[in-house]
Subunit: 360 residues, 2 copies
């Protein structure tokens, strides 16, 4: 594809902090942004052009398509129909197929297995009878997850005994689901990578992630993983990106398990977007995940993904953000706040990246 | 002073690339910006709130003052009266005294001398007779510079012989001026530093600057200067900032001369703002000059000024910018474009920073 000239306009669906950081990255490159969202959000502060309309408002979507040169989205729960509608009017990256796959936990797992990657054992669950049978087949403990619209632990119920089945099925209100065997993992790691429309690919260094209350707490780079496991993680991510003919930044989360004293990786989740576990790249790489997403979407060359520093990114969740003045006074700490007004519990208000000299 | 809470609004006078990069730095910290300028410019693309009005429009200035929590400016040729008018309504940093000094090449030189720093020999020139006498006193070659409104070599005429006096005087149209002895310098260096309202101070590493056609071409960090010269440059900058009760980022340019095999520094110019020779800090420091200016203006703690990488910043002037696709494909190169439409000769269209592992 031809690279968009500086001065071109990138349309971004979604006004959250990921849209905000995408817009700021586009600005570095002299590209303008137009944010489309159903409500104002953090991204509205950093761009001149905005649209507030429902994601199903075809007139508003058509008007948006007419003023942008290419479009992308900052969250995977955007309706596939919205992306399909736009794609008839303007290039939208990543495309419909990648989005549809990433919205469905079952499709994700199936894709990973087809590509020869490992995952937790799982079974599709469409009915209460399916659930009972799947618990019997997989054993306990297992986790019941809705196939769609899950993030930060939402839409998930742990099942410790067959007798929990009824309550779990009611908790997810009978939505199409997937039952997954609970994995005794040593650590969680993620690969954030970028793929161009013509198949170019580059990955950032693998991060080790720690969660608290099902929300990402820290990402640490470099990850404490042997070289062969790192190579596997990156190769698996490339395989997934290629299989989806992906354009832009994606993230793949893995569980790292100890298997006969070797590190074995299970694909856990695919995110068709810039990812919280890649926020450290703003401060520890020449070109961040946000800029590389914009570059891929705009048909520019992939920017360098090597890190110049080690990094520990820590999310500021809810009231964590009240420590901003203390954090701003720390040495070698990069403070990022998203401009959200209300520090509600569980809300991502910002993050800090603590950098240190690069080790091997 | 009390630190402004995240969500507060910084008013910025000026819509150029410095205002753009200031607004992007403010956004990192969850601070909003309102840009005031007499014409739209690069900063308008990255902020939601803008005012277009003359810098002498008191009604517009008063309205601007009423919607911002603190104000600053991105260029030193803003009328002092504008800043004085605003300062009665809202804190404006740096203040009137610093601006007035930096707008006057004579006052700059006098301040440097009063602080015990060295400068080129100079004489004030208010009339053609002054000029003739000053040429006689200083000898040739000398440079005649208007006291005000000079940047990028504008308002300067070189005088190689006493007979050039008449033409030089006409070239600057008889404006108040300063005649400076031409200095046979080895190199030009600059210190970009930040001072808080309560006297906190930190400097970035000294950069060596190369100019082409009187416009900055490259800034290289670390500078090739001995430690004692670096210490002198930073101490001189701190003395100037303290003398001006300065709040925000300032830059001091020096000529480095060889004097009996020792490096001697002459103060050349004081810029009361973020500076082109500090653009490398975006990519080679945890906290950039832009963020530190915003921090100081907002009463936040100074962020770390240590560099994590070596850096060479190269300006993209005029048609240089047409190489953007090639530059974007380079390894370890950070591309910054300002979103200007027309690549006129001499116009700063963007810059690139090439980073490499830190050396001592």
């Amino acid at each position: 594809m031809t690279a968009l000239m500086p001065g071109s306009t990138i349309g971004i669906l979604g006004s959250g902090q990921l849209g905000r950081m995408l817009a700021m990255a586009a600005a570095r490159l002299g590209l303008k942004c137009h944010i489309y969202a159903d409500a104002p959000g953090p991204a509205f502060d950093v761009t001149a052009a905005t649209t507030i309309a429902d994601y199903t408002d075809e007139a508003a979507l058509a008007a948006f398509a007419s003023v942008v040169d290419v479009a992308t989205y900052e969250f995977e729960n955007i309706p596939v129909d919205t992306v399909a509608f736009l794609s008839q009017r303007v290039p939208i990256r990543p495309g419909v197929a990648a989005l549809a796959c990433a919205q469905d936990r079952l499709a994700e797992k199936q894709l990973a297995r087809e590509l020869g990657a490992m995952t937790a054992d799982y079974a599709a669950v469409s009915s209460y009878e399916d659930l009972v049978a799947a618990i019997k087949a997989l054993g306990v403990p297992v986790i019941l997850k809705t196939r769609r619209f899950g993030y930060d632990g939402k839409g998930q119920v742990k099942i410790n005994a067959p007798s929990d089945a009824k309550a779990a099925w009611e908790a997810i209100r009978g939505q199409p689901a997937i039952l997954e065997k609970l994995v005794a993992f040593k650590s969680e790691v993620s690969v954030v990578a970028v793929r161009t429309a013509d198949g170019g690919f580059a990955a950032y260094d693998v991060a080790t992630n720690e969660h608290r209350d099902h929300i990402l707490h820290t990402s640490t780079v470099p990850a404490a993983l042997p070289d062969d496991a790192i190579a596997t993680a990156i190769a698996t991510t490339k395989g997934i990106a290629d299989a989806l003919s992906y354009t832009g930044v994606l993230a793949v989360e893995f569980f790292a398990l100890d298997y006969n004293r070797r590190d074995v990786l299970y694909v856990n989740e695919i995110a068709p977007r810039v990812h919280n576990s890649g926020h450290w790249t703003i401060d520890a790489c020449a070109v961040s995940q946000f800029e590389n997403h914009i570059r891929a979407v705009a048909g520019w060359p992939i920017g360098p993904t090597a890190r110049h520093s080690n990094a520990v990114m820590t999310n500021l969740i809810g009231k964590d953000v009240s420590a901003w003045a203390k954090l701003a006074a720390e040495p070698a700490t990069c403070v990022h706040l998203y401009g959200k007004h209300e520090a509600r519990a569980g809300r991502k208000m910002g993050h800090v990246t603590r950098i240190s000299p690069k080790t091997a």
